[in-house]
Subunit: 162 residues, 2 copies
């Protein structure tokens, strides 16, 4: 695989998941950018995504609400899209609220980078943090396993879309 | 003047400076986006701007260093551009560092909106804050007078460019 990580990646501060999946970039994009579809795969089971709002433009809202296996609704995750390049690049952050207002609880900026790879997709998910402590915390929350399992769910789900 | 403020403006959280100036949007834009020019007007005298770096693209660096009247260099202000629409709209935030990494010290998101107004410009400067306390702090730091004086300096300076 070619090296396509942004120049700003710092291994002490950032987490990266790189995979090749056997569905095309257009289906991965659709799964990430349509609430109806995103809710089907976004949380590793037995967690579920019970609400999702997407205003797909720079400055627009990305909001999800998760529910624990015990049925406990979690506080909403509110973020703001920064870059929206169809089938290629999705960037959002919880450091900003919609309309670019600074948030009270910055934790990470997320990037999903998609590249055609044969008939599939080279999929790169990145989480950027402000310091090593936040990065470590995200790793210990299970970033790699969680985002990996969610990606497996995404692939299985979009294959059912036909 | 027509109402062109973004829908996200909240008078409890945000500060707005609206003025009509007698120089065209293209000159105001040049003054805001070229380090050589920005350093000439950005700080209300007797404060001065002694360093400026501009990477004029979403995700790019906006960095300034100010110097007090006593010659004391202040800590650099580091921000990240969010929207760059020539002669119309410039948005940046210190909630993010270049490449969209969350910063450790979010304070405000800035917007400069420019509209042709006769041969001049309707100029709108906005500072968005996360809470009322940050907004009040910014107001007490002299937002209106400071940004107003800087704009006077900008106008006087760009008129010398010929």
């Amino acid at each position: 695989m070619t090296q396509t990580l942004p120049a700003t990646i710092d291994p002490r501060l950032d987490l990266v998941l790189e995979r090749v999946v056997d569905v095309p970039p257009s289906l991965v994009w659709k799964a990430w950018t349509t609430p109806e579809h995103l809710m089907k795969w976004f949380c590793p089971l037995p967690w579920t995504t019970v609400e999702c709002e997407i205003d797909l433009r720079p400055g627009g809202l990305f909001r999800t609400v998760m529910c624990s296996p015990e049925g406990e609704i979690q506080p909403a995750g509110n973020g703001c899209y920064l870059e929206v390049v169809s089938n290629e690049r999705l960037v959002w952050t919880d450091a900003l609220l919609p309309g670019y207002r600074p948030s009270g609880a910055p934790f990470f900026t997320g990037m999903i980078l998609l590249e055609p790879h044969g008939t599939g997709t080279k999929y790169t998910a990145i989480a950027l943090h402000k310091d090593e402590e936040s990065c470590k915390q995200h790793a210990e929350m299970g970033f790699h396993q969680g985002w990996g399992t969610a990606l497996d769910q995404l692939v299985a789900y979009v294959k059912t879309l036909g």
